[in-house]
Symmetry: C2
Subunit: 355 residues, 2 copies
DNA sequence: CGAGCTACTGACAACGTTGTCGACAACGTG
DNA sequence: CACGTTGTCGACAACGTTGTCAGTAGCTCG
């Protein structure tokens, strides 16, 4: 079918190379290369001839070939592995990282692991095969030791959102524990003692820290939580919906306030409260902001992570490590912020408390 | 495997090549290459030796070098240019495209143009310099003719969300006009005749189509809209907030329902209605879904784009064009869907209509 | 005038891979 | 046995670029 004689294919569809440019400008290929890389010792007249030739054939450097040949093999790209790019946290993070990388003329490759360890490895493998200069990873699963091999071969790694397991490396994390602790104390300050917590799988580092924050606050308040007030292992909104429904249907023992461990859980919980007609009765603080949080009634009180800072710090960390590899590994903590909007300031019902 | 923390610098941080693998396996480099590419005519015994050698040095193919040498220069990557990756529409689209690309073992590079034509060109240039096999572009500005050059050199282009200007090419777009027309008719069916419209810049193709849908519906309803009922050129939520505030403060001439041309405008409008205490009085239909739309009260009625379909169709379109370049350019229309949730079903106030 | 510099230029090797081709062995066929 | 065929393998060239180095011209300096 390719041998169709009728096919009009005058253009060989081949991209021009420095050879073409050199021929057209009547110079050697090295001179073209020099102009391309802004190297010194090129007569301005020559430079102009080359630039003109480049423009006339619409030359585009082949950066593949370039980085194969380069001494340092640098590709001016970094890889970012997130859980799910469709999640606002991930996409905003990606955007921030891209902007910071772009400032140094770096490109960012992104992949979604869906929280599956094997996918994470595949994506990392793919990135390394493209010889990214560094990796930013939101780690999943129980073992990131495989990254040590990549690091030894010259690809530094910075973990984001939670530290990698079975490996020491740079990490940029939010102050999860402090955030949830503050949220719980915030509810307590508004009169609550019966405070519940809904969280993700304890195997996820952030979830574990957040629950710890809740526990710390409760202990400090001398309010030993009822076992029915804490539910974990909630992996999505519908699981949270069911858990919240169960929690608030306990007639006598239901909490009067609840902290939600992440935004999916917040959404599920709000739906549950809506269905039970308790939206204006039960106080809610969510972890992670939501787009329309301030349009809800009552508007949603949240603990927000500083995504801007997380992205910036992790990109910076990676670039400094690229520049000087020998340094000690650092763990960077990024503060979180409580944003009161209404739902977290609902007082407990006036009638006497049980327990 | 190697748990020796004392062994430092045995490896000079150089990634192993097929040469290393070949030496270790005691075979020629070509045989390694054959194993790598699953080419036939390799004795199973040889294959095993090579695979073992690869594993023992943790070999990772250098796909840069590979695509430089390959006959077709294919890099197994495509470039996607969106307006802003932090926007849910863009990030969901990216996710869908990535999933579809991954199925064919393609990687997706993403860039945010911020709607700036020059940024778009820069990103496209960067992608082409990395020799992506194809481009998916949400076009900005008034001229995409520069892409013709890339196409002639073998990089096909598919436009998403709106067609490129000053160039004919494949495009995958939503049925914007029909969507807004249906939204307007939906409001009319619920008794409204005084229906307003808030839209983005008319220079944006989708915004232009959407306003056309509104106009078509209004004409069909014999309801010539008051000039105060249509505001365009709203570029962000705060502009929409001001426009909506102005629109609904016209005591006598205010509309009883409004269609919002995109999700930023919807957010601004909802804030304005909230501030004016009209949330439960004025009917609202938004274009594009919002994360918490169903948690609002009244829940938000929207026209949603089928992002899944858009991503899938555009990826498919690009891949078919990669496989057989000669085809006619196609414009694919993806249907939109009206999701009634409450805010679009609010009836007009009972007292007599003006006009 | 020659020696020694500096600025400039291009021929050529090299990067890690894939494409081409020829060598060689094992096989079936006549 | 001669012969072609098939399967297997590696030496080498080539991709588009950058690194090395030698060469040339023009200059200064003694």
């Amino acid at each position: 079918m390719v041998n169709d004689p009728g096919a009009v294919d005058a253009t060989p569809a081949r991209a021009p190379t420095i050879k073409d440019v050199a021929a057209r400008a009547g110079v050697g290929i090295k001179t073209v290369s020099r102009v391309l890389n802004d190297e010194p010792n090129v007569r301005p007249e020559m430079r102009d001839r080359v630039l003109e030739a480049m423009a006339s054939v619409e030359y585009r450097r082949n950066s593949m070939a370039s980085s194969v040949r380069r001494r340092d093999q640098r590709t001016a790209s970094i890889g970012l592995v997130v859980e799910d790019l469709a999640n606002p946290f991930a996409s905003q993070l990606t955007r921030v990282v891209q902007d910071h990388a772009l400032r140094r003329r770096y490109l960012v490759l992104v992949g979604s692991s869906d929280g599956v360890a094997e996918r994470e490895r595949e994506i990392v493998g793919e990135f390394c095969s493209r010889r990214v200069d560094g990796l930013l990873v939101v780690p999943s699963g129980t073992d990131q030791s495989y990254l040590a091999a990549e690091r030894e071969r010259g690809t530094p790694v910075v973990f984001i959102d939670r530290p990698g397991k079975k490996i020491t490396a740079d990490a940029v994390v939010s102050e999860n524990e402090i955030g949830v602790q503050q949220a719980t104390e915030h509810l307590a300050r508004h009169g609550h003692t019966r405070i519940g917590y809904l969280g993700d799988r304890q195997s996820v580092h952030t979830a574990e820290r957040r629950l710890a924050g809740y526990r710390a606050a409760m202990t400090e308040l001398d309010a030993e939580p009822d076992t029915g007030w804490v539910r974990t292992e909630l992996t999505d909104a519908s699981a949270a919906y069911r858990a919240a429904t169960g929690m608030f249907q306990q007639d006598d023992a239901a909490p009067t306030a609840v902290v939600c461990g992440n935004n999916l859980i917040t959404v599920g919980t709000l739906h549950a409260l809506q269905a039970l007609g308790l939206r204006e009765t039960v106080a809610v603080v969510g972890f992670d902001d939501l787009d329309l949080a301030d349009l809800l009634r009552p508007a949603l009180t949240v603990i927000t992570q500083d995504i801007e800072a997380i992205g910036e710090r992790s990109a910076d960390q990676l670039f400094t490590r690229l520049d000087n590899p020998g340094e000690e590994y650092a763990r960077v903590s990024v503060p979180v912020r409580l944003v009161p909007r209404g739902s977290g300031e609902i007082p407990p019902p006036p009638h006497g408390e049980g327990e």
